[in-house]
Each structure stands twice: as C-alpha cells, then as structure tokens.
Amino acid sequence: MKRRNFVDIFFGGSLLATIAAFLYPVVRYVLPSKSAGVVQNSVAAAKVDELPPNAAKVFKFGSAPAVLVNTAEGNLVALSAICTHLTCTVRYDGDTGTLFCPCHNGRFDLSGNVLSGPPPRPLETYAVEVSGPDIIVSRKS
C-alpha cells in the first residue's frame, strides 16, 4: 500500500512541477515587457522648434542612424544617415544643402540621390510629419 502511494505521489508531484515549469515561460511571455515595443517604424525625431532653417540633426531610427534636415526653405526631410559606400555616418553640409560623407567624399542631395563620390546607391528616404509639438519620422510603406 505504501509503495503504491509513493508511486502516485511521485507521479503527481513531478507532473505538477513540470506543468509549473512550462507555465512560467508562458506567463512571462504574455505579460508585457518594459522594452519599447514591436517595431520602430516611426520615431519622434525632434521637437518642432528644435532646428532652425538650414540645420540638421542625427537621431536613432530603429537601430541605425538617420538624419532630419530643416532645409533653407523651411522644409523638413529625413533620410537614412548610413552612407551606401562603406557605412560611415553622413552629415549635413549647410553651405551646399547636401549630405556629405567625410570618409571618402561621397555627396548626396536631399532626395538621397548620389551627386558625386564613390557611393553606389541612393540613401533611403523617410516620411516626415508634424504631430503636435513633435516631428515624427516614419518608414515609407
């Protein structure tokens, strides 16, 4: 009698422990975590009055650098800041109104097209819109 009970208790106990061990990850999975959220498809790059005309700001978009430019005419454009030549970060050149890569002299216009230098492909452009006090940059669909 005692041995049978032991077997039953042993079985029941190990079953419960196993179920608990399986429920733990499920519960942790379902509970929302503190990290940002699924996809960084849009980001608040800057505040509305942060950039004067003919100035730019490099910001983090997803896990890569991007650049927000307030052109001399007051238009807002945003592009990927990763040079398509050897992945250096481009910067805005206010004198020419172009994006310049200091590594090998690559130059892009504000639509991302290559103007001169070694870059083989244009820069990816992003959509910009103003929402309240924020300038929101998002990926184009």
Binding site: F10, S14, T18, C88, H104
Partner: protein, 422 residues
C-alpha cells in the same frame, strides 16, 4: 512586264537579304580564311566598339572592301598597318579631331593625343624608343571595347593587369631604372582588395593616381594631392598638424612617407608608436618630443582598440550561443566609427582631440560591453533553464515508468497468468 524586268526583280529579291548583313567586306572574308596572326583582326573585329558605330577596316586602313581580288582591294588608298611609332598619330587622326568625333560620340574627349604627348610613354616614343606604350598596348587592336564594358582592357578592374603586362615584366623594363614590383605591391594593397574582392569600382587603380593618357608618376609634392581626392578629411587634418610643414621642408611625400605608394595596407594602430614596426621611429629618436607624442597616441588608441575587440569577442560568443544580439551589434558599428575617426584624427597630431574622441568612444563601448554581458547572462540562463526542465522531465519520465510498471504488475496480479480481460 518583260522578262528582263522580272529577272532583275528576282535577282534583287534573292540578293536583298545580303544587304541586311551589311556591305560586302572582302577584307574580313579573306582574312577569316587565313591563319593565326592574319586571321586575328577579322575574327576579333566583330566585337570592336568601332564596328558598332558602323566603321570598318577601310576607315582606318583604307583600301576597297568591295573588291575580292587582293591587289584590287589593296588599292592606292590602302594604308596597311602603321608602324609602332606612328600609332598615336594613326588613332589620333580621328580621336583628336573634335569635328570628326562629334559625328560618332560627342561626349567623348578628344585630348588623348595631346595628353599622351606629355606622358612619359609619349616622351619616350618621341625620342625614338618604340618599346614605350602606344594606344594599342592598352586598348587592344581590333577588339577594342569601351572602358565602361567590364571585359574591356581599360575597365577599372582590368587596368592593373593591363599596365602590369609591361611594368611587371623585368626583361621588358630593363634599362628604365624604375621598379617592376608595382603590380605585385598593388595586388597586396587595401585598394586592390576593395576593387577585386568587394567589387568597389570607386577604388583607385593605376590611372586614378598616375593619369591615363598623360600618365606620369606624381611628383613627391603632388602625391598628397592625389590621395586627397578620396581622403579629404585626412588631408585636412594633416594640413593642420606639425608634420605638414616639416615634410614639405624635407621634401618628403606626405602620405607616401608612412603609407607607401602601391602597397598601401589597411592602417592599423601598430603603425603608430615607438616599437620597431611603427613608422614614427623612422624619424623621431628616443627621448624626443615626437617620440613621447607617438607613445601617448599609441596608448590612447591601443586601450580603445583592445576594448573594442574584447566587446566584439563577447558579442560573438553570445551570438554563437544562440542569443539575439543584433541591437548590440549595431551599437558596435557606432563604436567602430569612433575608432576609425580616432585613427583618422592621428593625422592631425592633436593628442587632446584624440583623447576626447577616445573618451566619447569609451562611453559607447561601455554600453556595448553591458549588452554583451547581458546576452551572455541570457545564454547562461537558457542553459540553466534547460537543465532544470530536462531534470524535471526526466523525473516525470521516471515517475511514469514506475507507474506503468506498477499498473502492469497490478494487472498481472488481478488477472493471473494467461488472462487478458481488463
């Protein structure tokens, strides 16, 4: 309709298709029937860029391609093949005539002949040395292709080979008192790696630094200008530093002094410092200010680079253990940018500036290091979790096995041997 008209019409109809294949070209027909050297021109001309523009044998060599008889074909206008010394003028006959070239390719330059005159090849040829390179040595003879075509002898990734055919030939170059190891040196360089392995067509080849038609080695003082074409930021930094004045006064070729000319290797921090492999000790003696500065620069960079490599290693370990580290890897790219920037800053010789850049980089590096440690912790956690779960499942399996045995035992006891009712 009379019979004659019909015959004429039929003949025209029968032979009309020949028109589609172009005019009669007895040169090609005849030469195709010959062997080796005499067949080559005819065989390779079909792929020639001149043929694409409707030009043929007679446009360069004269003669009458409509005649089958060789003596009649090689009439008064026949020029034959030009002597080596005459080739530049032969090609230049059209190619330096802007009016003529406008009819075929208005955008093509027409200064090749005049440039050639200023080149070392042109000068040697003028002085009577027919071993010097002429147009056909680089562009080919009858299968000439546009430099934009990947198989052309003058397409960027073919240029080192084209120049090297002569310049790496010790026998041919004997007597000219220039080295013949440029091609081998170039092939070992970081520019060659970019060109041949990464297929980066913006990487410099021979003509980017030496010129193509006006080819001449850049003078000591102009080497740096040549490099500055693609490395402007480095050039600007160098201009600000103490080396510029010193090198110019010494007559030393700025970039070339430390980086070489053809065998330019990927720069590493070992080039800076005070040990034997560093370039600084070529000039700066032990105890001098330059010597101390070199040692300080090396110290800053080494510490940062070691940290970078350590973080890289940690991330690789975590990744190999199956943890997702792409976010941290991207942050590491940022740190790499700082490292490249810091190394670039060494040309300005401003130790304070470099120390600041390195300090900024350290902050970013600390972030990567933390992420890598977290990833390794996660890998450890997963393995521990697996161990725990496996033990639990093994225990459960054992419990099940015991239960099954117990039930089978009880069943046997109830039924007795041979029975099968539940």
């Amino acid at each position: 309709m009379n019979i004659r008209a019909i015959r004429l019409f039929a003949a025209a109809a029968l032979f009309a298709p020949l028109l589609a294949f172009g005019q009669k070209n007895s040169c090609i027909e005849c030469h195709n029937r010959l062997d080796d050297e005499l067949k080559a021109p005819a065989a390779s001309f079909a792929a020639d860029v001149h043929a694409e523009y409707g030009l043929g044998c007679k446009d360069c060599h004269g003669g009458d391609p409509s005649k089958d008889d060789v003596d009649k074909a090689k009439d008064k206008s026949f020029k034959g093949s030009p002597k080596r010394s005459q080739i530049p003028l032969f090609c230049g006959g059209c190619h330096s005539n802007a009016t003529a070239m406008r009819a075929y390719n208005p955008a093509l330059r027409t200064d090749q002949l005049s440039q050639y005159g200023t080149s070392r090849h042109g000068q040697l040829l003028k002085s009577g040395d027919t071993k010097a390179a002429v147009c056909t040595d680089c562009h080919g003879v009858h299968g000439i292709q546009s430099a934009r075509y990947p198989k052309s002898l003058t397409f960027p990734w073919n240029i080192p080979q084209t120049c090297g055919r002569c310049h790496a030939d010790k026998g041919l170059m004997e007597g000219y008192r220039i080295p013949t190891d440029q091609f081998d040196d170039y092939k070992a360089s970081v520019h060659a790696k970019a060109l041949f392995e990464k297929k980066d067509l913006s990487a410099p080849v021979c003509n980017d630094c030496h010129g193509n038609h006006g080819a001449y080695p850049p003078s000591v003082t102009s080497v740096a200008s040549v490099c500055r074409q693609c490395h402007p930021s480095t050039g600007d930094l160098f201009n600000k530093g103490a080396h510029k004045k010193a090198f110019d006064e010494l007559g030393v070729g700025e970039c070339e002094a430390c980086h070489g000319n053809h065998k330019i290797l990927a720069p590493s921090t070992t080039m800076i410092g005070t040990d034997d492999s560093a370039v600084c000790v070529q000039c700066h003696e032990k105890g001098s200010r330059g010597f101390e500065a070199a040692a300080e620069l090396r110290r800053h960079l080494d510490g940062f680079e070691t940290g970078f490599q350590a973080a890289e290693g940690l991330l690789a370990r975590a990744k190999q253990k199956g943890v997702e580290v792409s976010d941290a890897e991207y942050k590491l790219l940022d740190v790499n940018t700082v490292l490249v920037t810091a190394k670039n800053l060494t040309h300005g010789l401003d130790t304070a500036e470099i120390a600041k850049a390195v300090a900024d980089g350290e902050a970013a590096l600390a972030g990567v290091r933390a992420a890598a440690e977290e990833a390794l912790d996660e890998a450890r956690f997963r393995r521990q979790g697996l161990a725990v779960t496996t033990v639990l499942l093994a225990v459960l399996a054992a419990a099940l096995a015991l239960k099954i045995r117990r039930m089978a035992h009880d069943r046997r006891k109830r039924e007795g041997p041979g029975g099968s009712q539940p």
